[in-house]
Symmetry: D2
Subunit: 340 residues, 4 copies
């Protein structure tokens, strides 16, 4: 029997919600081996940082350092805030380390990025980055050294809309009403993420002004050569994880939307088409994106859901890493939901 | 000092969520006096049915009976399922008892009602019924003996949209994405209302097919003489009470939507206009409807919230009863929210 | 008709959960009039600090200042952290302002206080302070200028245990297993109060080491002249408000515990005795303490609940203020629960 | 390479919470193969019954039938109510089918069973049944054809107490205050499991009268030859899954309780000893039992937690099945928690 070649991988930004999710997947991975774990501060044991890992997996958490990453890893996951990410990615890429970047730094075209985020400090690699939505860019991801992992809202939204781009009436706006569990707001505490602030509550935030709006618009345009008027309103809901997207638009002709979805995704392992509205529990804990759609006259309703910190972040990142390393895309990805 | 004349009122349907809310308001009411409480089964003490009332208020709960109601009450709240309600209302009205009906039985024009519900069995009184949204029909309510209390979704939706009817482009659909706490689904148990079914979950139901959709459309048409294309998608969220409405539409001209709202509601005691998105907690426990709106190009976003079992049902019912009896509309209505 | 003399009251520490609860009660109070509201920072409108108050009540929030309080108030509620509180109380009392202190600063005997908190800086007034549990010290409260409002856990625990002090076997420990909603942990954000940290979770904290343990022990001793071995384990539960106490002990003789409770509290307006276990919802939003008890052999189980930020803090504070000002104890106190 | 011999297993009672958990584990099992799935009604596809399984695993759900089970399975999991279970088990065992029974039917000695449940209808097999707590009966389980899977509360309680049996002073009662997520109450709807009934709530039920009390007492007695006075008070908490046990007792000598735990469980793969209080999230989704303990004088506090439908039921059942079939106990068992 041929010995298995293990691939050393690093997780930079291990303290956040996406960091622990990455580690949870990687410790079950048959080929990837965690050889480096870092946070901005370091100096702690991993199972002290995340007690759920006790007796399962631990290691010394480092203070993030490029040279260390380069010496220990073939591929690294950057689970960092935007701007911090490109600082690390640049030197890693120059040393031929493969990078899956979970931040926004390499997701957008330069102009879009600088309009909505900040000046880009790694334009050189930006032009080679691939948008890590396997259903859209699988072949490109396989050949890439730098994959920009999509935002959680864009993942669920784009997967819901892309099958309909040829039918949608682009003269009319697309309204997207999104609902996210609190883990989407990150680990940082605030009045909104305090239990007392969001329990028994729901509210919209960054109305028509969220940075995932241009990300959705750009990706739809690039794939369809059409300009869609995306209007995006996200909400925080009193749940830990999960994300539900309701999209409203007009189509130019009569279609059977569920049939369109089933045909479009017939060979996709991680998209499921339902005949009834989806919820967030049935895909919670998994890499699935679940989709339903309904037509009333010319009005199209698309209803999609993902686990925001898995398909919307960490498990999709591992899918991308699998593809980048020539492995089966599904390797180690979670598919059994957190139900009941 | 002139003695206060107390008005005897009855609550029929006291076991449900709206029933207990009615009683909670009425026991603090300076003029209304609860003289009759009934459920479909009767035979229980009220504080056994609702232990929260222990040491505060109790009485024998009767099996609902028209003759009894007539002998004991001047006004009655019918918190019954549709169809059951009109059975009672008919005989009560014939005996000059004032009726506030919390069901759908007298909310709609005959044709709309029979299309979405069932055959109407009290056409005679239906034509005299007034739709109990005080901001729209205050003067009519004052003179009426039969007020049809609006549905919870229509209350929050119509109050959000009505200030904009002259601006909305009726050639394009209005999309309404609604989110309701679980109390909106009633006390009956089901897989959806089981804690395990809705906790850590959210889902759409009755997509583009909820009976509040024609109610919203009819009332907007009656008040504006325009036909709007209403598309309504309700969701259940993991919260007990509260309802958030997000409406999306196009307008024909440039407006300052918050200014429009402030002007329209400047004299209304139970509508509050916010400069930022509303949530459901700040009006939870009260009769307020909170509204915010935002414009982006010609796209109008309206964001309104109510407590679904108070402004969306029981406190609005008492507001109507107050008006019907010549009292101050605000008498005994709750205005201090269930915060924090 | 004789004009009503209004009493000017102040709320110092208005930003926290107990601060908003105080204000919610006081705006409905027929005699107390809010003449001063302060936080540590000031410089904000009250309805910006607490948007739920919009259109109901607002005023300028001040930066807390003793001279201002003295010039504007007859009585003041100090909703401040311990140690900060005694700093203010001293000068107010010297100027004959009545003080209800919601902190721990005047709750304990000097020795107990300094052992569990810090050096006491106002020993002079400490000796005159009355422990503000009306069921135990009503007459003393009436005559006092300084009432120390009890801790939330001691309130529910002591009210459950005090009727049994003559029966309890003090040779055996009393074990108290307490469960509190997250508002009990205050407004400050932490990993424990972050929604993601406590949702779908429960855990004990400060095991056998919480500062309410000596408070319970001291008060039981002072009232009974017996030394009880109090062992207190509090838990945080995924709920906003409410507190449930389960106490376990041995008794020296056979008793009917519910009968003991009913007899002991037969004239008390804000204690309710149940024949079945209590929950936290039926007293949520009110000043009630609900109690149940059960005996099995010589083992006594006592089960009590309060709303932690009302009976456990703010509404009890207003009850004390009412008594201190010669008013009806129940004036303006909430008694209708946040159900369903 | 030697072909793997797959073992056909059946799940009877697949509609409940423990049924879906069994299936979720078994579909990842390398040796067990699901060859039979039944409910009391049958006639449905498994992924219609549990939509989370869509695109992962499905089969025809049968109406439970002994002959069918015998023809298709080598081992069967009975996830049925007590009494229903023994009806099936009898004939299966007579046909040499291995049985893991998740009900109470084979957990107790005859006398205890008939006192707390009902007449036993399969006394013959009862005497051969092994109590399926691997930490206590691993060797017996390996040789058994009939394993009685422990109750959820006894699992977490016994694992917490058993290391201390030689130290506990049996002249004093042991008080056990337990808290369970709502899934522990089963799929059946009731006022208690309705979202509105348990959200923002907590309450004790079956106080000192739950049928897990004698189960705990009997197992502790059988393992220690001592009679402990077990007093058990369970609570329902607003969480879907998880169970926290707080046990209070006296010990006869001074001990280091965490050291005792660490020594006792040093070779156990599915018990973790913590140096701080445990919560329910860190073991949620896993087969772990997490334990902490603390001593104050002679008073011992033991704090243990499990996932009530995994370690408290389905994953423990698979552990038992693994042992009964000569496999590694840990095969396919979940160990990565549902965090964050």
């Amino acid at each position: 029997m041929k010995p298995i070649h293990k691939i050393g991988v690093g997780v930079v930004g291990a303290s956040g919600f996406t960091g622990i999710e990455l580690i949870k997947i990687l410790i079950n991975h048959p080929i990837f081996e965690i050889t480096y774990v870092a946070t901005s501060e370091g100096g702690i044991e991993l199972d002290d940082l995340h007690p759920a890992l006790k007796n399962i997996f631990t290691c010394k958490v480092q203070k993030a350092d490029s040279a260390e990453i380069i010496s220990r890893c073939e591929l690294v996951f950057l689970a960092l805030p935007h701007q911090a990410s490109m600082g690390f990615a640049k030197s890693l890429l120059d040393s031929d380390i493969k990078v899956v970047d979970l931040s926004a730094d390499y997701r957008l075209e330069l102009e879009t990025y600088e309009k909505y985020y900040c000046l880009h400090e790694d334009k050189e690699h930006l032009k080679d980055a691939v948008y890590g939505l396997p259903e859209l860019y699988r072949e490109e991801i396989k050949k890439s050294s730098l994959v920009a992992n999509p935002g959680c809202y864009p993942t669920a939204t784009i997967l819901g809309l892309i099958p309909f781009v040829e039918y949608i009436d682009e003269n009319f706006p697309i309204f997207i009403d999104a609902k996210s569990g609190v883990s989407g707001a990150g680990k940082k505490c605030s009045a909104s993420t305090h239990f007392v602030g969001i329990n028994e509550n729901i509210f919209a935030y960054k109305v028509l002004n969220h940075r995932h709006e241009p990300e959705i618009a750009e990706k739809l345009r690039l794939k369809s050569d059409k300009e869609f008027d995306i209007n995006f309103v996200p909400h925080l809901i009193p749940a830990t994880r999960g994300e539900l997207i309701d999209s409203y638009m007009l189509v130019k002709e009569d279609i059977d939307p569920v049939a369109v979805l089933k045909e479009f995704y017939k060979d996709e392992p991680f998209v499921r088409i339902f005949d009834t509205p989806v919820d967030i529990k049935n895909c919670s804990g998994t890499n699935f994106c679940d989709i339903y759609a309904q037509l009333k006259g010319r009005k199209l309703y698309v209803n999609s859901s993902v686990d925001n910190i898995l398909r919307g972040s960490s498990s999709q990142a591992v899918a991308n890493a699998n593809l980048m390393c020539g492995l089966d895309e599904a390797l180690a990805l979670p598919f059994v939901a957190y139900v009941p």
